[in-house]
Amino acid sequence: MIELSQVSKVFNPGRHNAFTALHGIDLSIKTGGVTVFKGPSGSGKTTLLSVIGCMARPTTGRIFLDGTEITGLPERFATLTRRQTFGFIFQNYNLIRGLTVLENTMIPAYPTGRNYQEIRQRALELLEKLKIESKVPMKVEHLSGGEQQRTAIARALINDPAVVIADEPTAHLDTELSMELLEIVNDLKNEGKTILVASHDPLIFESTAVDRVVSLRDGKMIDQETPR
Amino acid sequence: MRRSSIYLGFSLSCLVALGFLCFIYPHLSAEQYDRVLAEQKRVVRDLQLTDLCLFSEARYTRNLSQADWHAPFQDNPMAFDTFPSGSLVRPTVLLADDTP
């Protein structure tokens, strides 16, 4: 359960270029299920996701994760929460060039102090599940867009997070690949993960896998569609 | 193979090699060098030599310890007159100590 109460985010506060990207958001998201944030460009989707995912601190307001407050944590604990609870799939995948698919997948697990073989095994399993086990030793810059995305998904799942956050996951994909992505999302949902997606792709927010759509405009929530 | 294993293996073998070179090899080869040293000492004693034959380019570099106050080049350690030996060696302690 993720709860946001009166969360707002101001960039460059107190300066002439101060900009309020989120205005007092009140929201609660149940554990499990797919939530999509939609809205026009600049409406604050990415900002909201990064605030939820402990990437950025809200300027005001509080965020609770399963009842514990995660706002105002010291950097070290924010990092720990981010690492243990959230898995991120970035808009541009943000894989590290020059490293192999396997290495990229394992990166989030390195600082955890888990045993190397264990991490490696888990990464291989994930990559197999995502059907790119044949690309394991390949450098990521040689992958196709879809393969890069799968690698990014595997990387997001390596620490077995409860919440998966994806920002515009279909931005660089064609319809067919987008459908495949939705299948993967559906599988994750069935495993019991909470999935938060920002997207303005109708293919996503009209999909049957989606449980809830939250619309944003100018940093405000305008309406919430009830679960279908 | 993990990269860190390869690197640690490399470092470890370097460390072992260095340890061997620093602590063991000098002992293994000591006898041979003792022999050489003994022979050199014998020649020095026998011929009453005073210097090593390192720089034979000029009198005052060939016999560093015998150079006199007026031998040029030696009054300044940065002097480049007889390059490079003139700049390699300092004026003899003798000269530095009791210059009149």
Binding site: R83, I119 | S56, R90, T92
Partner: protein
């Protein structure tokens, strides 16, 4: 255990990152290794040579007495031998008859020694290995000299000094005193200088003072001073050392500066990604620590081992040229291996430690920024 697993994982990651820019990083490693190699070779070589000189010259004459006149060294009249010998505490006074010979054909300087008890007769010489190497064409084992009066003199090589003694004997040409005087024109009643042995080495200074009182223009040189001259040999203050050391330090600073300031946009973006996927500031600093450490440790090991092999197994061929200078003749010798651990430790702390810090510091600034920027990269 957990800590160890974590460090090894960070190291894996760092090594992968270093490896993907093979060319650049190996080039840098090479420069770094070379600097350590040169500095370390200088340290090994000068120390070993100093130690060798110290050991060998321990058996040099206790005192040499030169005669000076008008600021130049003069021949020593044999008449003074008695005067010095009569000083209390002096055990023996022996005239040394020696000088230099310039061989015009090869432009080489040799040292001539005339001995009273020369075993091989008046038309023979005993020479160092360096003479054999440099003299040029030697026919029928004969060396051709030009005497002081311009006439030619052929002397047969009757014996050679053993190769092991090259460090002290390379340029020696030993002959009988009679031949020496004939060749150089040194009059019979003179010697080059005296070597004096004393009963009690502690009295050397007093005896030296007495000698200066008796022999006008006498200049006594004590063994202690000879040894001290060689302990100061290749002092770090001397010109060449400074040139080498400052060049090395400068090169090191330049490449380190390049590393430190050259944090590319790509590297910054990567640190953002790492933060984004859950690395903390300490993980990123740890990763960079290993980058600095692995690179500089590899350079340190390679440089030091290379220097050891260069100096002790191959007798420092890269320095031979520098030491030789204008001279033709250079002794061949092998230095006794011995490593001063303190100096190695100093070298370690002057290279590995600063380099590691230099790699970490620019990262510090980047790694404390908020990770949300990674959401907007592309």
């Amino acid at each position: 255990m957990k800590w160890l697993d974590r460090q090894r994982c960070l190291m894996d990651f760092t090594l992968s990152c270093v490896w993907r820019r093979k060319g650049k990083n190996l080039g840098f490693l090479l420069v770094y290794t070379l600097i350590i190699f040169v500095v370390c070779s200088v340290i090994f070589f000068s120390n070993a040579l100093r130690r060798q000189a110290d050991a060998v010259l321990h058996d040099a004459p206790e005192m040499i007495v030169q005669k000076m006149m008008a600021g130049r060294q003069e021949l020593m009249p044999l008449a003074h031998q008695e005067d010095i010998a009569s000083i209390r505490g002096v055990r023996s006074v022996e005239p040394r008859v020696w000088g230099y010979y310039f061989h015009p054909a090869t432009q080489t300087n040799y040292t001539l020694i005339g001995r009273k008890d020369f075993r091989h007769g008046d038309d023979a010489v005993e020479v160092g290995q360096g003479v054999l190497r440099t003299w040029g064409a030697v026919q029928e084992d004969k060396l051709y000299f030009r005497m002081v009066d311009g006439k030619a003199l052929d002397l047969k090589i009757a014996a050679t000094f053993s190769a092991a003694t090259d460090l002290v004997s390379a340029d020696l040409i030993m002959m009988s005193q009679a031949t020496f005087r004939r060749l150089t024109g040194m009059p019979d009643q003179f010697a080059t200088d005296f070597s004096v042995r004393v009963r009690n080495p502690q009295e050397c200074t007093t005896i030296a003072e007495k000698i200066t009182g008796i022999v006008p223009g006498a200049r006594p040189i004590l063994r202690e001073e000879i040894v001290r001259t060689y302990s100061a040999l290749f002092n770090w203050r001397s010109g060449y050392m400074i040139v080498i050391l400052s060049a090395a330090i400068l090169a090191f600073c330049i490449s380190a500066w390049d590393k430190a300031t050259g944090l590319s946009a790509e590297e910054k973006a990567e640190i953002g990604i790492l933060k984004g996927v859950g690395w903390g500031t300490s993980d990123i600093l740890g990763m960079k620590f290993w980058e600095g450490m692995t690179v500089s440790l590899a350079a340190f090991f390679a440089g030091v081992i290379g220097a050891y092999i260069h100096v002790f197994f191959f007798s420092a061929p890269f320095f031979e040229h520098a030491l030789k200078g204008w001279s033709i003749l250079y002794p061949s010798f092998r230095l006794r291996p011995e490593v001063n651990l303190f100096e190695l430790a100093v070298l370690f702390f002057l290279t590995v430690v600063p380099y590691t810090f230099i790699t970490i510091i620019p990262i510090w600034r980047v790694s404390v920024t908020d990770p949300d920027l990674v959401m907007r990269q592309g």
